[in-house]
Symmetry: C2
């Protein structure tokens, strides 16, 4: 296994310490947990927005903790849900008295452990609402989910909900805009290579030198179709077709697009994908309002990408454009 | 070759178009060139700061074009210098009447072609100064250089010089602070894997499954030592020891550190390296003023990292902390 790693059992602990060492002005780690919260948590008088899930998707989620996005995030082990105890500690640390919105990616472990934690904090009198992100249009069910998986579109939920909370909205309103993003976003991904988990040290699936996997998730779980290697334009067309078939936007609709790298993909290739994606938006009569290109929701060292399209109206544009200041995303 | 690519001959052209499509509010591409300049270039009444070099190091350099950093950047083909004509077009497009600082990474092609371009624009009456970045402490000469190579420390030169120019300083002052960064920065890199160029489609050097290459450059050129695979802490110690031996900072010195991914390295691993790096700063009695972790100066899809240490004083801290707004780096 070729990784920058010490004992694989320590990798999450060491990553989190390395992250707080890089961003002490943004992040603090709650003692004896894998929970990262804002350095100034809890923010009194504002709704808190929190998330979490397995590690291996960096900068998701701790990279989005800061002004205008998340108040905190729990990190599980690689591709494993945080425990209910960790989610409970997260919610407790972030609640500033106005309630907490939990943004949950739709994986069974995350949903179950978040729900258990919520029962506990509600007994303590904390107001909690949840949204479940299921933007992956590739599969209806998968190894880790009933229903669609939550993937890169989650970042837009963090952004919109965090902006609404920072503007002083109440918990119902913050939940409403989070759900509005979920109702208007779709994503599909593909892999050129499998990821390699630090524990296992070998690829989670085998792909031939001339094969790619379409419709992959973010945990090395199988995709929907294994095909022969295609060029970047053909891959972009296939991903975008599936996303637009699901989202079914009207002509003239404004959209935010994301070309997301899976962790092992150079930016050069992501920009090549973005070129074709923007031409496709034109061909479909869609208006690109903003185009993001980078590593937002990764799968360890997997080479590949996902394409996200989110239909935006004036309200979402204002929220997605509002100031945010986090380690991984800054808008101003 | 597993890449998101169409015809390899088109990859730079398509990348640049994908980049302007993602960042039309920051970047424009000069027609019939591989030159990217600010959307509002030239900025009248300010010194311009420009750079350029071979492609394959994204987000370097075009990702740093914007307020407070570069006014423009020329992109060569993969690992090849831009032509003198492209450098000339770059300088001409960015000169706002107060002169142009060219930040050149120390590679023979870049130095030669920049010098030819400068002779041409000086005949047109443009004031030009240059600095040559040579922060790589690993080798004295290499395949592509006489003297040390310019690598990740270049980003700090862009940042400081761009901030000084934005503050209204004259060309001599902008050149002075750029040189001050160069005099106070050192970098060393290592590879877990070779990069694969789109043209060749195979690794530029062979590494066994249990081998790593220390002291690599950013063009797949050989390193200084091939060793057996070490753990992340040992690798970080070796890189840092070489950088500090060269830089020789006094105890108590404040530093900015960078853990830079080479393009195929997940952020998880970079944070693991940063954890040990910050402990080493402590052990050496150095004060980390700021710690950057991410992909700043890459080598296509190479897995590996580099460690940069820059000694900072009040002047450099102010410049490195000044507002910048570019596709790849935003400070505020």
């Amino acid at each position: 296994m070729k990784k920058l790693v010490n004992d694989p059992d320590d990798i999450i602990d060491e990553m989190l310490d390395g992250m707080t060492a890089a961003h002490p002005d943004y992040l603090q780690r709650l003692p004896d947990t894998q929970v990262m919260v804002r350095d100034d948590a809890p923010v009194d008088g504002e709704v808190a927005v929190v998330s979490g899930g397995g590690s291996g998707h960096e900068p998701t989620h701790a990279g989005y903790v800061g002004d205008g996005m998340l108040d905190g995030a729990a990190a599980g082990d690689v591709f494993s849900s945080p425990t209910a105890d960790e989610f409970e500690a997260l919610i407790d640390a972030c609640d500033g008295g106005e309630g907490v919105l939990c943004v949950i990616k739709n994986y069974e472990g995350d949903v179950m452990n978040f729900e258990t934690a919520i029962e506990l904090v509600e007994m303590e009198g904390v107001d909690v609402e949840t949204v479940v992100v299921d933007d992956d249009v590739a599969v209806e069910d998968s190894l880790y989910t009933s229903g669609r998986r939550g993937v890169c579109g989650t970042i837009l939920v963090h952004k919109a909900a965090g902006a609404k909370a920072a503007a002083g909205a109440d918990l119902d309103e913050v939940r409403r805009v989070a759900q509005k993003v979920i109702d208007n976003v779709g994503t599909m991904g593909m892999a050129l290579t499998s990821c390699v988990t630090p524990e296992k040290g070998e690829p989670t699936f085998d792909l031939g030198d001339d094969e790619i996997e379409m419709g992959i998730g973010i945990h090395g779980e199988p995709g929907t179709e294994r095909t022969e290697l295609m060029d970047a334009d053909a891959i972009t067309e296939e991903l975008t077709r599936n996303v637009l078939d699901d989202l079914d936007p009207d002509a003239g609709q404004e959209v935010l697009t994301i070309v997301n790298g899976m962790g092992g993909t150079p930016q050069m290739e992501l920009f090549v994908v973005n070129r074709r994606l923007q031409a496709l938006m034109d061909e479909h009569g869609l208006e690109t309002w903003d185009a993001w290109v980078g590593d937002y929701m990764t799968s360890l060292d997997m080479a590949g990408c996902s394409v996200t399209v989110c239909a935006v109206d004036e309200e979402l544009k204002e929220l997605l454009d509002a100031p945010a200041d986090t380690p991984a995303l800054t808008t101003r």
